[in-house]
């Protein structure tokens, strides 16, 4: 039974592959998106990366995409569809696509797959993610300096390592310049619900926060801050420059274009290999949007120096001594966090109040 299964699957794949070869002169790159390309945030930025590929390679590369693909069964079909239709390289851009990507990859050994923000790899599956916490360190530094009420509001999406890392990083750097700073954290349990984000921002502002950091993708908190008049914000996912120079004083931009171009080139050159990429400011995957003049000049200079230090690999935002919230020591003086702990981070650092919900 099992053998028969394998045989038939292999036969089906062979037919698919035969079809693949027909259109081999251009390289076909596919993208699976979790949201609509008009979401103005996560998917929007990935699609900008796709367009960058088209611009960079011109006629040598054809790109295809499918938007609003639900995670689970629909994702597996969408990915298979792309592979069948001759894609040579497929980017699956949401954590929930991890297992479907691995499943499909096993059936299409000659197609290369790249999964965003997951942790699994295979012979033809790489994964990639960005060290957004580096950007959070910059924000924390600016926030710690600029707050007058010493209350920083933080709109968090889901209690997952990615978000917790961002909170810790921002807090550590705010506290380094302002020991009295206090973080107020709201978990909204959504990546995307503009109304709720607006409400969360207002709740934080009402309670005295004069800085809002957000780990959700809409500009609703920016608008709330603008209405309040004296609250500082930072762009998230995209630059949100339309709210600059104030309240938006800087931003973290997801810039996938360099990575997408590099990997596409690797496929064209035949040099593609499985990698687990976790890039930050150094490769340009994490970009710090323009720091506006609303930030005091010396703070801006310090922030830019921090960016440069991270770009050069001289500074790691999680450098000891750091103690966990419960008082146990985590990193000794000068020690740098290892990627394993960072990837699964499920604790707050000392000084943050409240508990991580689950």
């Amino acid at each position: 039974m099992k053998n028969l299964k394998t045989f038939i699957t292999a036969a089906a794949v062979a037919v698919g592959l035969a079809a693949n070869c027909a259109a081999a002169d251009t390289t076909k790159v596919g993208f699976i998106y979790v949201g609509p390309i008009g979401d103005g945030g996560w998917t929007y930025e990935h699609d900008k990366g796709r367009l960058a590929i088209e611009e960079h390679f011109g006629d040598a590369v054809e790109t295809v995409f499918q938007e609003s693909v639900s995670e689970g069964a629909d994702a597996e079909r969408a990915i298979t569809q792309m592979a069948l239709q001759g894609a040579d390289l497929i980017f699956t851009t949401s954590f929930g696509y991890m297992d479907p990507t691995i499943n499909v990859a096993a059936k299409f050994p000659d197609v290369k797959f790249e999964h965003a923000t997951g942790y699994k790899t295979a012979d033809n599956v790489s994964n990639y993610s960005a060290r957004f916490y580096e950007g959070r360190a910059v924000q924390g530094h600016i926030a710690g300096n600029m707050t007058e009420s010493n209350i920083v509001g933080y709109i968090a999406s889901y209690p997952i390592p990615e978000v917790i890392r961002g909170i810790n990083s921002a807090y550590l750097h705010a506290k380094a310049v302002n020991p009295d700073v206090e973080f107020r954290i709201i978990w909204v349990y959504t990546w995307f619900d503009p109304q709720k984000e607006a409400d969360a921002a207002n709740a934080l502002i009402d309670q005295g926060a004069d800085i809002i950091l957000q780990h959700t993708d809409s500009t609703a908190p920016q608008a709330a801050a603008q209405a309040a008049g004296d609250v500082v914000t930072f762009g998230q996912a995209s630059d949100m420059a339309e709210y600059g120079p104030f309240p938006r004083v800087s931003s973290i931009i997801d810039n996938w274009a360099p990575y997408y171009i590099e990997r596409t080139k690797a496929v064209i050159d035949g040099t593609w290999e499985t990698v687990a990429t976790w890039d930050g400011i150094d490769t340009g995957m994490v970009e710090i949007g323009e720091i506006t003049d609303a930030v005091p000049a010396e703070v801006k200079a310090e922030a830019l120096a921090m960016v440069e230090a991270m770009r050069a690999g001289e500074y790691h935002p999680f450098t000891g001594p750091i103690t966990k919230q419960d008082g146990t020591p985590w990193l000794a003086e000068g020690e740098v966090a290892d990627d394993g702990t960072l990837a699964g981070m499920d604790f707050y650092v000392e000084g943050l109040t409240g508990e991580i919900p689950n």
Binding site: G38, G40, Y44, W187, F192, P194, Q195, K196, Q207, E242
Partner: protein, 306 residues
């Protein structure tokens, strides 16, 4: 944890704003259901209103025209539902669901090119010295016109249903369409008018999200508000005053929840999020003992068989 950081005046003020979209959409749906029609397409009409309002406001620079366009857009879409259910006598539940599907697609197509655009600001009404009254100034006199429109509409619908002949006809049609028909009322016309009114209200509520609450355009930005409005009508047991109360309660649960979190209170978010719906079910059970109940002809197809 320090609850004193929560300022009740500011909390109530943001509640007034947070509840406006569901209030408007629910008032519209209330009229529709009172006429005996169940339109599950509220979400689709809201998001269509949201994009119509946004496009017009951005292109003309006038939020007022935007809101007007939203009401027109919402009611234009609702007319599809009206034709299906009142003329072609199709099932209302299925038609409403199809309307939502269609509206979400339509709005997304219309919205291409409007991502990342900032709409013109909707001004707040200037009440002069009233706005400086402690507490009440912030709660009641610091909002834009649409918030007050929502309140006025609540009162108007309450009066209309309770004291006017038009209200009597509407209720009659909803309670027993055969009897209303026998008395010579145009059941179908009344219902189409109610459906169009519902669409206009939903559109207005949607535009309030895209022009004031958020304000920006993104695909699917109503994120389920229309469904909450549907729940709200039931919660309110088809009474205008209770819709207002319910809108504050539904909006209030979210606003309060977020405020408690910001104040550092560890709360089980999921349980709080499901509470309005559990309360609504409870209200339904309690109502069943009461004489208030759903309009008699709700969801039933009417055909005048002469």
């Amino acid at each position: 944890m320090d609850l004193s950081v929560i300022n009740p005046a500011l909390l109530l003020a943001s509640l007034m704003v947070a509840s406006t979209p569901i209030l408007l959409a629910a008032l519209g749906e209330l009229m529709v259901e009172r006429a005996g029609v169940l339109n599950l397409g509220v979400e689709g009409m809201m998001i269509t209103g949201a994009i119509c309002g946004f496009v017009i406001a951005v292109n003309t620079g006038s939020p007022g025209l935007g809101f007007l366009a939203a009401t027109l857009g919402g009611s234009a879409l609702s007319l599809i539902f009206a034709v299906l259910t009142q003329v072609a006598l199709a099932n209302q539940v299925a038609s409403g669901l199809a309307l939502t599907l269609f509206g979400l697609g339509l709005s997304s197509l219309m919205g291409q090119g409007y991502v990342g655009v900032k709409p013109p600001a909707t001004p707040e009404v200037n009440f002069g010295p009233l706005g400086d009254i402690p507490f009440f100034g912030a709660v009641f006199f610091s909002h834009d016109l649409v918030v007050y429109l929502g309140l006025a509409l609540t009162a108007a619908i309450w009066v209309m249903l309770k004291y006017t002949r038009a209200g009597l006809i509407l209720r009659g049609v909803g309670e027993n369409h055969d009897a209303a028909h026998a008395l010579g009322y145009k059941v179908v016309r009344v219902r189409i008018a109610a459906i169009a009114f519902g669409g206009a209200c939903a559109g207005l509520g949607g535009a309030y999200i895209s022009l004031v609450r958020v304000p920006q355009w993104t695909d699917g930005m109503t994120a389920g508000t229309g469904w909450i409005a549907l729940a709200l009508v039931v919660f309110a047991s088809w009474k205008a005053g209770r819709v207002l109360l319910g809108a504050w309660l539904f909006g209030g649960v979210t606003v309060l929840q977020l405020n408690l979190q910001a104040a550092g209170v560890a709360i089980p978010v999921e349980y709080l999020n499901m509470s309005p719906y559990l309360i609504t079910i409870l209200v339904l059970v309690i109502m069943s003992a009461d004489r208030t109940r759903a309009p008699g002809s709700l969801g039933r197809i009417f055909h005048a068989s002469d």
